[in-house]
């Protein structure tokens, strides 16, 4: 680790001001950033911790039937507080990493990082969530821009994530054996006006929507509807030690079916 200064503002405004300085970077739960710093792969001069900002924490249901989650809310809190209204999301959060990771890591940090194998991006894209920052609101469809790439600008903070609550949903995560991130993860959400299917872990372009499955499931929300689809093309999928692109493509279909069958 290189040396850095640490500040712990208590409001979003203070945080934004602190981030105005050169080479300042937000610090959420540190579950991604701290290991990166330990390996000396990043050299911020100042870290602006978001953990003391009360207005960025907590989970609540909005009038338009969405779940609003503060950007600084940790995974354990989401696992607990979303359980009643949005079990599919609670289940996703409950299976990220281990208890220590869930007690520190935040939804804002996960979405800002946009690891191609992370779980939350699938939920955000699969629900058509709105990412709220200190500056603006960004639709999930516009937010994810490829592996580790997002619409966020320098110094922009995710303050809240609003996820429309589906009638039924489920997240199926097939774990990469070593990291236990998603080798492939599929989030399925059924709404009155249609079904969304978002896939993480699989594509070289990061999280994506499987539109064929969405179309099929929107007219027939059953595992059988997925059966009839051809397997997505494996050529653009991640191929590594843990599985080929074709294997990942195959898993996309299997997990989509399982998610539909398990959706509640």
């Amino acid at each position: 680790m290189y040396n850095f200064d640490l500040v712990r503002p208590t409001s979003i405004d203070e945080a934004v001001a602190a981030l105005g300085e050169e080479e300042a970077q937000p610090l959420g739960g540190g579950q991604t950033l701290i290991p990166t710093l330990k390996q000396r792969l990043a050299m911020p001069s100042k870290l602006v911790s978001l953990t003391a900002i009360a207005e960025m924490k907590g989970v609540c249901k909005t009038d338009d039937n969405a779940l609003a989650i503060g950007g600084g809310t940790n995974h354990a809190t989401v696992a607990q507080e979303a359980a009643a209204d949005f079990p599919g999301l609670a289940h996703l959060a409950a299976n990220i990493g281990d208890p220590a990771v869930r007690s520190r890591g935040t939804i804002g940090g996960s979405l800002a990082n946009n690891d191609p194998s992370a779980c939350y991006p699938a939920a955000a894209l699969g629900t058509g969530a709105t990412i709220k920052t200190n500056k603006r609101e960004i639709a999930a469809d516009d937010y994810f821009q490829g592996m580790f790439a997002t619409a966020l600008e320098e110094g922009e903070i995710i303050t809240e994530v609003r996820l429309p609550i589906p009638e039924a949903s489920n997240y199926q995560k097939f774990e990469q054996p070593a990291s236990r991130f998603a080798l492939v993860g599929v989030f399925v959400a059924k709404y009155a006006d249609g079904v969304r299917v978002a896939v993480t872990g699989a594509s070289n372009d990061g999280v994506f929507r499987w539109s064929e499955a969405e179309a099929a499931l929107s007219s027939d929300f059953s595992a059988g509807a997925v059966d009839g689809l051809s397997t997505p093309d494996g050529s653009g999928m991640i191929s590594d030690l843990h599985g080929s692109g074709d294997y990942r493509a195959h898993l996309v279909k299997v997990l989509t079916k399982r998610a539909v069958a398990a959706a509640s």
Partner: protein, 790 residues
């Protein structure tokens, strides 16, 4: 009733109190006043010529004490290899120089290019980033078969090629073996890979070098399984420090699994630098460094053939193996694919002819050496896999085929140079069958199929050679060390005992089990006895712990020393009791004159030895301390039958272990609980090899699995629950040639389990109609799925 003390009691491990409450004393806990820290600049390319190293900017950075490069080690010895293998033409293996710091050339990712010593680790690391390397990258040699092709890039310019040795065993059997294959009724052939592993002990390696100007003495604190071996190798071959000026201490060590046997560059560096700088130098490996600097394990590519006659009797086994040595020869590397592997190729079977060919190959990868089982897992995997395949090809029951070919009379001289002293392979097979509930398998398979899953049953046998080893024999085979063990039993004045042993405990539980033996012999409480180990300054020269040798060899030395103690104590007692020595009996800590009620307690005799007022001083020296060195006359041969059931998800290729049973014959057992723990752990590591662990390089010699993000370790949730994870050691044929009748249990689980798991996976796939007759380890979901696609 089970015993509650002495041999056969499941005494709770006394060392666990300190390990589990955080008061152990590990090498990283040792800090020497004024110590400096070293950061090793390691190569991030696999193969390159070093044109220059510019340290000028780095040297001026804050806190830098000194920067060392290969130049500073030009007059210093290289790391020695402890075993010389002779090839099939009678020529010695190729033995390239193994520098402490790279000299002119880099040969693997992770090799040390420079060492920065500074006041703090961060300062050292900062300075290392300012070192400018001028490297000319060379093509890397990674694939073993490509490495031995004519014209392949050479790892070592001064050698003719990348072939370390081409070993034939037993070369005299080759023609007869080939003939048996020509005459065979059936031949089964299998090509397979034994995957490269990283041992990953919980505690990474650490070295602290210290130097005392007052008496010109060097001390190395290190994470080692054998401090005396390190002292000998480093003192005599690398740094030229005689033993009386060099102390090596291996305090609490957090797991070794073989990878802490070897003498490493970092140990020599810290000792050397401390002498140069007159200041202690400390190195603590990061986990990332461990992946690219701890010796790796396994990494064999093998073709095995099994010949059978018309009645399904095994008539011959023939193998050809490529064994990866990595870029340099680690301490015992050459012995692993040869003497620890070829000698086990008869397995539990009376196959009359065996011929083993091993080509050891240099590549631009981290050196490979012994890892839990060392050679024996590789032997067992190929032999038991080919037998399983033969059973399927012939349509015979795999248990029946094995039983039919079992060795049943002992001692048994195998065609591969070893003599099994004792065993009962039918007994362990019977036990396994009973514990596995084989008649219920079909119903369990149906239940799995009803859930859309496939279920497979894997059967396996193994034999290993432990209790390493008879020194004269291994000397003939090329070992440059003896493999005896030592113990000093020091009885204190009031009767408590300190045992100084050359064995080393790094998780095995010696501090509990060794006292059980002495307590049994003397009839005194276990807690009157302590084990002292790990420091060359206060233990007799011993060879350390590996090869499941500690109780068989180290324990035997302790028994011999204790016998000497008993002899002398009886002389003292006979004097005090005024009886003849032959009439003295020792029982329950009392010396009694046979047939009388005259007796004297242990403590009174020991006190007399040190306060010799009433003592036969003219015949007997005072004091009560004895040393014994024990050199075994043969290896020990633990063996067993293993089985497991897997459930396989045909949609994803995911495999789960539903049940695992081991029926082992370890001879006599000192502490059943510790033995069971060793087997549980060994099987878990074997399951790790079979399903998860995969140390992988790309074609440029870059390590792909360089962290836990990509290197999958076995975790608790992949192991069956304890009621389905049964380790039995009730079949006991005591070893015939050591005083305790023990065989050793440390490696068995890791040897017997990988083929068990793979046999079960193949069985599951076959039951689903997939014509898969082998799958390489690790059988990850992606690989299983790919195999199912044909």
């Amino acid at each position: 009733m089970p015993k509650d003390h002495g041999i056969g009691a499941s005494t709770k491990r006394r060392e666990d109190l300190r390990f589990l409450t955080g008061v152990g004393n590990y090498t990283d806990d040792i800090n020497i006043h004024g110590q400096a820290y070293v950061y090793f600049l390691r190569s991030d390319v696999a193969h390159a010529t070093i044109n220059g190293i510019d340290t000028s900017a780095a040297e001026t950075m804050p806190g830098v004490v000194r920067i060392f490069t290969g130049k500073d080690f030009e007059g210093v010895g290289g790391l020695p290899c402890g075993w010389q293998v002779t090839d099939k033409h009678g020529q010695p293996m190729k033995e390239p120089a193994h520098p402490v710091i790279a000299q002119g050339k880099i040969r693997h990712v992770g090799e040390i290019v420079a060492a920065v010593v500074a006041d703090s680790l961060d300062m050292a690391r900062d300075a290392a980033e300012a070192i400018v390397l001028d490297l000319a990258e060379l093509p890397a040699v990674v694939d073993m078969k490509a490495a031995v092709q004519p014209g392949a890039t050479k790892v070592h310019d001064d050698l003719d090629d990348n072939l370390c040795y081409d070993w034939g065993f037993v070369e005299e059997n080759k023609a007869a073996t080939d003939k048996a294959f020509e005459e065979a009724a059936h031949v089964t052939t299998l090509e397979l890979i034994n995957n490269r592993l990283v041992a990953n002990p919980m505690e990474p390696r650490v070295a602290v070098g210290d130097y005392s100007k007052a008496n010109d003495e060097s001390t190395l604190y290190t994470t080692s399984q054998n401090p005396h071996v390190i002292r000998l190798l480093m003192g005599a071959f690398v740094l030229g420090i005689p033993e009386h000026k060099l102390r090596v201490v291996a305090p609490d060590v957090g797991g070794g699994f073989g990878t802490k046997i070897f003498h490493y560059a970092e140990e020599a560096f810290c000792t050397f630098a401390a002498r140069q700088l007159r200041r202690a130098v400390k190195w603590t490996s990061s986990r990332s460094e461990a992946f690219m600097s701890d010796a790796h394990g396994r990494d064999h590519v093998t073709k095995i053939e099994l010949a059978l006659d018309a009645d399904n009797n095994f008539t011959a086994v023939r193998t050809e193996t490529y064994a990866n040595m990595g870029a340099y020869l680690s301490t015992f590397a050459p012995s692993v694919p040869t003497w620890l592997h070829g000698t086990l190729m008869a397995g539990n079977y009376k196959t009359p002819l065996v011929y083993v060919n091993v080509k050891a190959v240099f590549t631009n990868t981290v050196p490979v050496d012994a890892y839990r089982g060392a050679g024996r897992p590789e032997a067992t995997f190929q032999l038991e896999r080919v037998i399983d395949k033969a059973a399927r090809e012939l349509g015979v029951d795999p248990i029946k085929l094995r039983r039919q070919n079992f060795i049943t009379t002992f001692p048994y001289a195998t065609p591969v140079a070893v003599e099994y002293d004792t065993g009962d392979y039918h007994a362990t097979m019977d036990k396994m069958e009973e514990l596995m509930d084989l008649p219920g398998f079909e119903a369990r398979r149906k239940a799995s199929e009803a859930k859309g899953k496939l279920r497979g049953l894997g059967i396996n046998c193994f034999i290993e050679a432990c209790g390493i080893a008879p020194s004269n024999l291994v000397g003939q085979l090329g070992a440059r060390a003896g493999l005896y063990e030592s113990a000093t039993v020091r009885v204190n004045a009031t009767g408590s005992i300190s045992v100084m042993t050359g064995s080393h405990s790094h998780g095995q539980g010696h501090e509990t089990a060794f006292p059980q033996v002495i307590a049994e012999m003397l009839g005194i409480p276990e807690d009157m006895i302590d084990i002292v180990h790990g420091d060359t300054a206060n233990t007799p020269m011993g060879m350390g712990t590996y090869g499941s040798r500690s109780i068989a060899v180290g324990g035997s030395a302790m028994v011999r020393a204790t016998e000497k103690i008993i002899n002398k104590a009886k002389k003292i007692a006979s004097h005090l009791l005024e009886a003849s020595e032959g009439d003295i009996e020792l029982k329950d800590g009392q010396f009694t004159v046979a047939g009388t009620d005259k007796s004297i307690a242990w403590g009174d005799v020991t006190l007399a030895a040190y306060v010799p007022h009433n003592y036969p001083l003219e015949d007997l020296e005072p004091g009560l301390e004895e040393t014994a060195f024990y050199d075994p006359s043969n290896f020990t041969y633990p063996a067993g039958a293993y089985a497991c059931e897997v459930e396989l998800d045909p949609e994803t290729g995911h495999v789960s272990i539903e049940k695992f049973v081991s029926a082992d014959d370890f001879g006599n057992v000192i502490n059943p609980m510790i033995v069971e723990g060793q087997v549980h752990g060994g099987i878990a590591q074997g399951i790790g090899q079979a399903l998860l662990e995969n140390c992988s390089y790309d074609e440029n010699g870059q390590l792909l699995s360089a962290s836990y993000m990509d290197y999958a370790m076995p975790r608790a949730d992949i192991i069956p629950n304890l009621d389905s994870y049964i380790v039995d050691h009730s079949c006991q044929t005591p070893c015939t040639h050591n005083p305790l009748g023990v065989k050793g249990c440390g490696e068995a689980g890791a040897i017997g389990s990988p083929p068990t798991v793979i046999n079960a996976i193949v069985d599951a796939l076959q039951s689903g109609g997939h014509k898969v007759d082998h799958i390489d380890m690790p059988a990850t979901p992606g690989r299983v799925w790919a195999a199912m696609q044909g």
